[in-house]
């Protein structure tokens, strides 16, 4: 599974530009699904037929946060704006990867005092990108305005943890792929939605379930782990203690019955799990539950340190636990 996670997290897929990652997902799902299609927004929907007439939709968003080029100056330097919730600080001195170039991100300042001032009140208007171009024309030919970029970051194993950009939410995609690989003759029909444009407002998932009307939905996404120095107060999530069953975040309250079923599934499979209450944030469950006449929905989270940074950190133990939990979940009777 580590190779899959490495390949998925190192792929390029900012919101609205998810094709490369979807290809990786499809490659790994080959032989494990009964069919797939892309919906009008570009969500990749896959399915495997089950014995019952019940349908379960599992969602993971396939996009990642990023940057987009908004201006190019005479000397070939780029100006950028964020795609999704990106802190400008994560990019200072770091690199951004565009499809045809990699650039260094740095900030303006004409005096040391101004540099200091800009750094302490940093906005994207202070940042620029140097892709090594000599002038506007050269830069425009490589990264025209409207080109999307992502952290230039790579996957590595940090002790027992896995570190990369875009664990949010390629780790969810990896979980879904592994679940499909483990479904030999599923009890219920399982639909996988690899949803686009989550990071800029839960766009893809708003329409992903529309044609299927599933019995219930489970979004698999990351949640903030609080187990680091002066980490978030009031939050319990920690790495290595198993996947987290979300009770509530700022955008949704998980359907009680789905939460109970997820707990049952964990217990049945002998998977340790955590319960999650996040005082901020949101996942695709928020819009899945509001589709059509309403769909009971919940989120299964992978606790993650340093979310939305180039070095999002997860524990393989939690990821494998999430796969086992979901396989066990699909084998429940799923009476709501």
């Amino acid at each position: 599974m580590i190779d899959l996670i490495k390949e998925l997290t190192e792929s390029y897929g900012p919101s609205g530009r998810e094709e490369e990652v979807q290809k990786v997902v499809l490659k790994h799902l080959e032989g494990h699904i009964d069919g797939h299609r892309f919906d009008p927004l570009g969500n990749l929907l896959v399915w495997k037929k089950g014995k019952s007439d019940k349908k379960v939709l599992l969602d993971a968003h396939i996009d990642e946060i990023g940057l987009v080029v908004t201006n190019i100056d005479d000397k070939g330097f780029l100006r950028i704006e964020p795609v999704g919730g990106v802190s400008p600080y994560t990019y200072v001195g770091h690199r951004v990867r565009f499809p045809k170039a990699t650039g260094v991100v740095y900030y303006e300042g004409e005096t040391p005092e101004e540099q200091k001032k800009n750094l302490s009140n940093l906005t994207f208007d202070h940042l620029f990108v140097d892709i090594g171009a000599c002038d506007r024309k050269e830069a425009e030919s490589i990264v025209p305005i409207g080109t999307f970029g992502v952290y230039d970051s790579y996957f590595y194993e940090n002790g027992k943890y896995l570190v990369s950009k875009s664990m949010d939410d390629r780790i969810g995609c990896a979980v879904l792929v592994e679940v499909f690989k483990n479904l030999k003759d599923p009890r219920h029909t399982v639909i996988g939605s690899f949803s686009v444009q989550e990071e800029i407002g839960l766009v893809g998932a708003s329409v992903a379930a529309y044609d299927f009307s599933p019995l219930l939905c489970v979004a698999v996404d990351v949640t903030d782990s609080a187990d680091y120095p002066k980490g978030l107060k009031r939050h319990a999530m920690a790495l290595g203690k198993g996947p987290a069953i979300k009770i509530k975040d700022r955008a949704s309250i998980s359907h009680r019955k789905v939460v109970e079923l997820l707990e049952q599934a964990a217990q049945k499979a002998g998977v340790p799990y955590q319960k999650e209450v996040l005082t901020f944030g949101g996942t695709n469950a928020a819009v899945l539950q509001r589709t059509k006449e309403g769909i009971p929905s919940a989120t299964l989270s992978i606790p993650t340190r340093y979310v939305h940074s180039p070095s999002e950190t997860v524990s393989l133990n939690d990821v494998e636990g999430a796969v086992k939990l979901l396989v066990s979940f699909i084998d429940l009777e799923l009476e709501l």
């Binding site: 009008p40 201006n71 407002g201 766009v203 708003s206 329409v207």
Partner: protein, 339 residues
């Protein structure tokens, strides 16, 4: 060109009737059918020669403005904004209530302001509309709580520049009307959606999917220019005179890649002046269309306008004409567009 008539009509969000009636009357005989839906959207239909796709061209009829919240004892009116209006741009301006009663928004004279006060932004709580009434009784003969208030700005055009109010988004409505003027049929089934309540949260467009199940949409807007002296060039969103602005991403939606690139290709193919929109702030009905029903991928093309959401904005008429040409050429591409 209907820019003058359209921008001189008052149609703040939720009060689009005057604009809708005008458009309806002008287009009725030129399309196959026209309907007004429950929310007040005007939807005109023109059948295609192939009819394999349902293509929506959308523009919103509403503009930002105000609503009367109270009639005060002294005959002045308290009011609140409808949509996003910076209170700094409204003091000392003429307004029109219910499309007929003239009024002014005043502010205390500079003599009465302390030095530090001059730099402060006025607050809606401290602003009133004066309609020439000297008492509550006198005022309530002409207006009541809940009445809509619009800027009272005449349209003017000199050389290639035009000034007026509500280019956001009467410019889009005018583009759609120009397209409707064309007598030929295009390959796709065309729905012209003149939408309500965009400025208060993309509301009218929220009900299009269930009525039409469109395959794709183009949202035609009047958008921020930003090419004014207060901003360095690299922070401009668009520049007047550089042609229609094509959006790759805005709040809550990354424009479908195929649609974005196809718009650019058509513009290049026919050598129509155009520019990318270079800021991602602000949203349009495209975000709502993407997120409703089974999802409608949408593109956004805009006429750049300086000083939008104020009593007076400025457009370049050539940008408007180029927008009409670009949208027309896109339709002529037929099923090849964004395929």
């Amino acid at each position: 060109m209907y820019l003058k008539e359209l921008t001189e009509l008052d149609g703040v969000s939720g009060d689009e009737g005057r604009v809708r009636d005008f458009i309806k009357e002008k287009i009725e005989s030129k399309v196959d059918s026209v309907k007004v839906d429950v929310l007040g959207n005007l939807i005109a239909f023109k059948k295609g020669t192939k009819s394999n796709r349902k293509f929506v061209l959308a523009a919103h009829m509403d503009e930002v403005g105000f609503m009367v919240t109270n009639v005060e004892d002294d005959g002045t009116l308290s009011f609140a904004p409808v949509g996003g209006v910076d209170p700094r741009v409204i003091v000392g301006k003429h307004v029109r209530i219910k499309g007929e009663v003239p009024g002014v928004i005043g502010y205390k004279a500079i003599h009465l302001q302390k030095r530090n006060e001059i730099l402060e932004s006025p607050k809606y709580e401290n602003l009133r509309i004066n309609i020439g009434a000297s008492s509550k009784d006198e005022a309530t003969q002409k207006v009541e709580i809940g009445d809509y208030v619009s800027f009272a700005t005449d349209f003017r055009c000199e050389n290639s520049r035009a000034t007026g109010k509500a280019f956001d988004d009467r410019a889009g409505c005018a583009v759609l009307m120009e397209i409707i003027e064309r007598s030929e049929r295009f390959e796709d089934d065309l729905y012209f959606a003149f939408l309500v309540q965009e400025e208060t949260g993309l509301r009218g467009s929220a009900v299009l999917f269930e009525q039409l199940q469109p395959n794709l949409a183009l949202v035609i807007e009047g958008t921020t220019a930003g090419d004014d002296p207060g901003l360095p060039e690299h922070q401009w969103a668009t520049h007047l005179g550089d042609g229609p602005a094509i959006t790759f991403m805005h709040r809550g939606y990354v424009v479908n890649k195929k649609i974005y690139e196809s718009i650019l290709q058509v513009a290049q193919k026919y050598d129509i002046k155009h520019q990318p929109k270079r800021r991602t702030a602000g949203g349009t009905d495209a975000a709502r269309l993407a997120k409703t029903g089974g999802g409608v991928p949408a593109g956004v093309i805009s006429v750049p306008a300086r000083y939008i959401h104020s009593p007076l904005s400025v457009i370049d008429v050539d940008d408007f004409k180029n927008t009409v040409s670009l949208v027309g050429k896109i339709l002529e591409e037929g099923e090849g567009f964004a395929r």
